[in-house]
């Protein structure tokens, strides 16, 4: 029973790198907690899991998780992950990164990986700002939000991430906040075990930058807000789940459908055209 004294996250953390860089009240550590529990529940051999991150606060997750992990360039974890998955289909290739990384500079990769159903799982921590560089406006920042580069308030329309992922072809789309730890953990298990491109948006507090500049209180205030103003609507029409500065947050599992993965579709096409000349490529998918 002695090992119960160790935080269950510890076996999966590079403890020689603690403490981490995340601010007091930041939500990214909660995402790590949920992921480790999800990994345990999924029954996957951790040696077969690779973590891919881009650049930013969330991008540091790769460096803290004691798994094969890659901290790539800004915006590019998704194509790196596609390359790794295609090379080693038996691996579980998981992307953890922020919304600036995945949706702004990396937006093109996101939509194309979803379109071709690359068998990777994307966990997008959305804190509405470029926190590591000091709080510039991000691609999901609600209209009127204050950032260092929108000192008078932002005025361009933010992305609705579940709608974006849904409309470009993701087979699994969910959104939770860091308040919804049990649901988030369950979604992570489902995503890890589901073949194809899975996208989970995780709304997280950024108390130092986003909350403060927009007078939204500290991390705890953000979590209270998530508790009070979130509405769980599983299967919600993703068109309807866009966010506003002080509006409600619709959370839930929105999309869960089946479609051939990139490698499955490749095998189907080549086998039908090439017949016996084609040796099917491993897909890593068990259906």
């Amino acid at each position: 029973m002695k090992n119960q004294h160790i935080n269950p996250v510890e076996p999966y953390l590079r403890m020689d790198r603690m403490p981490h860089i995340w601010c007091p009240g930041c939500g990214i550590g909660i995402v790590v907690n949920c992921f480790v529990r999800a990994l345990n529940q999924s029954g996957i051999d951790p040696d077969l899991v690779s973590i891919i991150s881009g650049i930013g606060c969330t991008g540091r997750i790769a460096g803290y998780l004691k798994l094969d992990s890659f901290h790539t360039t800004h915006g590019r974890p998704i194509p790196f992950a596609t390359g790794l998955k295609v090379a080693r289909p038996e691996l579980k290739v998981l992307v953890f990164s922020g919304e600036g990384d995945l949706v702004s500079i990396g937006g093109n990769h996101l939509i194309h990986a979803a379109r071709r159903n690359s068998d990777i799982k994307v966990f997008c921590v959305n804190n509405f700002t470029y926190a590591m560089t000091g709080g510039q406006v991000g691609p999901t920042a609600p209209i009127h939000s204050i950032a260092t580069t929108t000192p008078y308030g932002s005025y361009d329309r933010p992305f609705n991430l579940p709608f974006l992922a849904d409309s470009t072809g993701a087979v699994y789309v969910a959104r939770w906040t860091t308040y919804h730890v049990r649901q988030l953990t369950r979604s992570m298990v489902e995503a890890i075990n589901k073949p194809g491109f899975c996208f989970v948006e995780i709304i997280a507090p950024c108390p130092t930058i986003y909350q403060r500049r927009n007078r939204l209180g500290d991390g705890l205030e953000a979590m209270r807000y998530y508790k009070r103003y979130s509405r769980v609507i599983n299967g919600a029409n993703t068109r309807m789940v866009g966010l506003e500065l002080k509006g409600p947050i619709i959370v839930g599992k929105f999309i869960d459908r089946d479609r051939s993965t990139l490698l499955e579709a490749m095998n189907e096409e080549f086998s039908s055209k090439l017949g016996a000349r084609y040796q099917p490529y491993p897909t890593g998918v068990v259906r």
Binding site: M1, Q4, H5, N7, P8, V9, E10, L13, M18, P19, H20, W22, C23, P24, G25, C26, G27, I28, G29, I30, V32, N33, C34, R37, Y179, V181, R182, T185, D218, G219, L220, M223, R224, K227
Partner: protein, 94 residues
């Protein structure tokens, strides 16, 4: 009292582990504990953060929501059978 009534019927209870030096005082564990086991303490840890103190361990169910909510991996809980050993208390400030 309500607390006594609850504990007397339980087959398991919670055991709580807090590493105060990792804590950054966000208060998530205190706020979202379903049975209000914790409160923010007065003392500061070495980094100068107020850390949680246990106010009523008897009502802890070991649900580990505090563990899920802690962004700094400083607290977690486990469910143990009622005859299991003593819980570790928070050594506030070390």
């Amino acid at each position: 009292m309500a607390v006594e009534r609850r504990t007397s019927r339980r087959k398991s209870r919670g055991e709580l582990f807090i590493d105060c030096e990792r804590c950054k005082g966000c208060g998530f564990c205190v706020e979202f504990c379903p049975t209000q086991v914790l409160a923010m303490g007065e003392k500061l840890n070495r980094k100068g953060y107020h850390t949680p103190v246990i106010v009523d361990l008897e009502v802890c169910t070991g649900c580990d929501l505090c563990g899920l909510y802690c962004p700094d991996f400083a607290i977690h809980a486990v469910r143990v059978k009622i005859e299991a050993g003593e819980a570790k208390e928070c050594d506030n400030g070390g």
